[in-house]
Symmetry: C2
Subunit: 306 residues, 2 copies
């Protein structure tokens, strides 16, 4: 064995935070919880997805959610409406679901046609059924660290992924890059909360941050949600850091039949030897959004059938 070989084998390998594996394991737990509740004579959890129009990506997302429902034993229902449904008609459909006691969770797949206000629709969902966690009341409870709210699905899914791989944020310095309402801002609030998944010291960086690398290099745990493929290079991460890459952007790839592949915000190959753990793209954070959604639905359900 040469010295080079020995060095190679002594090097600690980065743990790949595989969202498919974590999601499968968590969904098995959810399925068992459902099975045991149904065995007691309870109805299964009910999750409705509203799909307006024929957008291809939306159909794929909703299809994946329906499949996940089937897997875990939820009564999953996709309600499809034509793109020319009026806002008032859609609001009436939401109200029907709000008062339906057999339905625990309601998601409205975005984007909606331009004549319908996404904000109005999001705020019309009963906060207790808002398993995407987008309602102002749920965001407010998140902001207050109040555990009675429904947590935003993607950030919550990320905490489930971390938990699955034994990554404890408590006392760590987490640097979040990107301040979107769907990922960056809620992620920073979850991880700084006085809660089992929280207690980290969190720095929130964004487009106005000066010398971004000086912040990312400090991170024990670096969460990147920018949508800029390969933006985070090896010199921007600390040796031994945990990397959560939320970015998924289509980039050209002539070697694929499709002509494209998904790429994250982090230069994965370049940082791999430097970090202690990293999410791949795809199959890192991606599967955890639906898992967060399923877990939210289960929690809403459990509160009724405890």
């Amino acid at each position: 064995m040469t010295l080079v070989d020995s060095e190679y084998f002594c090097k600690t390998m980065a743990i790949i935070l595989d969202g498919s594996i974590a999601a499968a394991s968590i969904r098995t737990e959810i399925a068992e919880a459902v099975k045991s509740s149904v065995a007691k004579g309870n109805r299964p959890p009910g999750l409705v997805a509203i799909l307006v129009g024929e957008d291809g990506a939306s159909q794929t997302y909703v299809g994946a959610k329906k499949t996940a429902c089937d897997e875990v034993g939820f009564a999953g229902d996709v309600r499809r409406f034509a793109a020319d449904i009026t806002e008032a008609e859609l609001m009436a459909e939401i109200e029907k679901i709000n008062v339906d006691e057999t339905i625990d969770g309601l998601i409205v797949q975005l984007p909606l046609p331009k004549h319908i206000s996404e904000e109005k629709v999001t705020q019309a969902i009963l906060p207790g059924k808002d398993v995407d966690g987008f309602h102002d009341i749920n965001m407010g409870k998140l902001a207050k660290g109040d555990e009675t709210g429904v947590k935003p699905a993607t950030p919550y899914g990320i905490t489930l992924l971390m938990k699955h791989y034994g990554i404890d944020a408590s006392g760590k310095h987490v640097v979040v890059v990107g301040r979107s309402n769907i990922v960056g801002r809620p992620m920073s609030m979850l991880l700084s909360a006085a809660a089992p998944y929280g207690n980290a010291t969190v720095t929130l960086c964004h487009s106005r941050t000066k010398d971004l690398a000086s912040f990312t290099r400090m991170a024990d745990i670096l969460v990147v949600a920018l949508g800029k493929p390969g933006f985070v290079t090896a010199d921007m991460v600390k040796e031994g850091a945990v990397i959560i890459d939320v970015g998924t952007t289509r980039v050209d790839d002539a070697s694929r039949k499709s002509g494209w592949r998904l790429r994250g915000d982090v230069d994965y190959d370049a940082v791999l030897d430097k970090v202690s753990a990293i999410t791949p793209v795809p199959k890192g954070v991606g599967p955890m959004t639906i898992t967060g959604l399923m877990m939210n639905t289960l929690e809403v359900y459990k509160a009724k059938f405890a």
Copy 2:
């Protein structure tokens, strides 16, 4: 002139961020806005404070709010109820004010007697009249960086103080110490938002933060809201930093007739020579909470009489 004198005069003096001066100036602006609206035939802004029981400190706070109303020309009204008012009776009073079109802002002075849920009462206030900014919907909008919500009074007041003294947070590294729902968490959200008072890179520290001084020493702007008098010492702050001290704790002081004085979380005398600007205690952040409240009320009012 000796060398010592010359050094003394060459040294940049820290700017004292005097909340009384800023508050007086902002209240003058508010008074002018009210005067000009009333001159057009509009009613003045209406602010109601509910006071339950005889707590001395609460009476002082409510009294100060009433005085501030009189100063700026608001129709300020204190509604007093006995400590044995039932929760249902109090909720009915809140509902009356919620539907009263002449009232723009409603605050319920905390603490409430133990038989009344503060959370329930806070959430019963119409979000659009919640000029303390404590309602979940307002916290949710804050979390989303949505400017249509009412901002929490103390953090908002701090941004007004900073603005008065020309301190721009944009692109600065702000370190907030303390994660309360009233100051630390909302402060971190306001200052990181994509808004005129925001755009800072914000780190939120708390009781679980490891090596706190390593964070405070990085701060361009350090906001401390801990309630631990004199906790932040000179070695914990960066040369030239801006210090916002939200702490106000009574400490023994034999030299005073009262036997006590108010002290902040920062060792003021020790850091004074090192920093570029600092809030004193008292008369730093203190007067800005009521100013935030007045400004919130004016903004709610203006939205109706624009």
